[in-house]
Amino acid sequence: MLSARAVTKRYGSTLALNGATFDLDAGRVLAVVGANGAGKSTLIKSIVGLMRFDGQILVDGIDVARDGRGARRRIGYLAQNPAFHQDLSVRETAIFYARLRGAPEEAAREAVEHVGLGEHAEKLVGALSGGMRQRLGLAVAQLGDPALYVLDEPGTGLDVAARLELRDFIRAQRARGKSVLLSTHWLEDVPATADEVLVLDRGRVTFHGPSADFVVSNAVRSRLFLRLNGHTDDAIPLIQHAAGHEVARSGEWISVTCPTDGKTKVFETLLENGIVILDFRVEEATTASTDGTGGQS
């Protein structure tokens, strides 16, 4: 579905991408990870045709540099901070982009409903929160039923619930045989969403392989997502005091990052204090290091 060969991009004397080469098959999810400035966004913008580059990128066999329009017809792109015309409503925006993509207006309405913006359809884009704009970006990316989704830091600005929905969206696309390439600096996202990992370091691909090989080094960590019975404010200091875990609140959810063997302590602390857990989700975390057994460096 996606093939990159020796993709190189220079900004003056700075080499932002240095010969990136990889393939992504249909129905697979590839996470591109790396620090800020590693070249993730440059790679993604090159795939989408927003940047000129040396080398070759093929999307479904179509050369991005030669037939950008044809390649982009097969790509659903979500930018890190999606920007839309602020004076258009959500509905007008979706219809406008549906026209650009040659999709029927009905598809625009369905996409808006699908991302949960149906009741905000008449709201102006300028009045949307960052998370809602991200949802609108996801709706636009779905128009025309693209075969490849390219998502640049899709979790940015989303609350916990929206992040979980995003993961469900990615899994659903994979189940439909679509390919997904996403960039992230949340390493915890990798095992939860990706089949493969591509690590970029200062423009170079330092690892590409199955996410199973992208394993923990010496800091095994998990992340718990918890929805409690209205005692969230009480729970946060309790968890922090009990085990010194990192706790963050996002809407009605809290996330707790802790050593893998410290998960039970969190549950014990909450139950001992009479706090009922309405819902929870656990994700195993990784670090950027790999075991070097399955990937190509």
Partner: protein, 272 residues
């Protein structure tokens, strides 16, 4: 083509929503009407349209280029400022599709504003003055639209070359000053002192779409050598009115096409 039409439709809708174009059309209509009424009071005989048209030449040569340059300069640079350029170009359309869609949308919008403004005034003038020179009036509306098309094309080139909207607008206003206010002095001075020749006068005329339209308008109304000015007078004497009109018309078409083509070529090579 679908994508170009979508961009075209959006530009047109934005223009309809925009207060600028409505204000422009109203201003033109009101000023045209005021000029017609004033001149009707002082006129002898039925020559309302001809007098109104002649009086509107200078107003048109000031306002139409300014409006078109500003709209053109905002077209791409504004999207760049808002961050929407990347969103647009990540869709299945080429940079040329975007540029042409915007140009066509803005051109139709400005033509509509010019036609509405002058049209409304023309109807009112016809009520107070017997119609004798309606053809000239219509020709002048067409010339105004053609001038807008040329200046939009230059504005689009400015827009593509500018990093942001404020920079593009500054360059557009400077361009307007240069073409509308200072050009004649500089061009004539250069043609007569540095490279004193008829060819230089001709080139000087064709290098400015505002001057091109001014001479075309005067040629169609009253080919008086004093009114034509030195550049127009040279053309008139050298080529006659018909050939001069053809040369100027071709130059105007080139002004509408060449900057836009250059903008498309540059835009295609830029990173979004």
């Amino acid at each position: 083509m679908t994508a170009t039409m979508a961009i075209f439709g959006k530009e047109l809708r934005d223009a309809v929503r925009s207060r600028w174009l409505v204000a422009f059309a109203l201003t033109f209509a009101l000023v045209a009407l005021a000029l017609a009424v004033v001149q009707e009071q002082g006129s002898v005989g039925a020559q309302g349209f001809n007098r109104t048209t002649a009086s509107l030449i200078n107003l048109c040569l000031l306002l139409v280029p300014l409006l078109a340059l500003i709209l053109g300069a905002s077209a791409i640079a504004g999207e760049r400022d808002r961050g929407t350029l990347g969103t647009l170009l990540s869709q299945p359309l080429s940079s040329a599709d975007l540029l042409i869609g915007k140009y066509l949308g803005l051109t139709v919008a400005v033509w509509a504003a010019v036609v509405l403004g002058f049209g409304a005034a023309g109807l009112l003038v016809a009520l107070v003055s017997p119609v004798t020179d309606f053809g000239h009036y219509l020709l002048f509306v067409v010339l105004s639209g053609a001038l807008a098309s040329a200046m939009l094309s230059i504005g689009m080139l400015i827009s593509v070359l500018s990093e942001g909207r404020s920079k593009a607008l500054a360059i557009a206003v400077l361009t307007w000053f240069a073409l509308v206010l200072f050009y004649n002095l500089v061009a004539i001075g250069f043609a007569l002192s540095v490279a004193s020749s008829g060819e230089m006068l001709l080139v000087s005329t064709l290098l400015n779409p505002v001057e091109t339209v001014r001479i075309l308008a005067v040629l169609s109304l009253e080919p008086d050598l004093h009114v034509l000015g030195p550049l127009g007078a040279y053309l008139y004497v050298e080529f006659g009115p018909a050939l001069s009109a053809v040369i100027l018309g071709v130059a105007l078409l080139a002004w509408a096409g060449v900057p836009l083509t250059a903008a498309a070529a540059i835009f295609r090579k830029q990173d979004a």
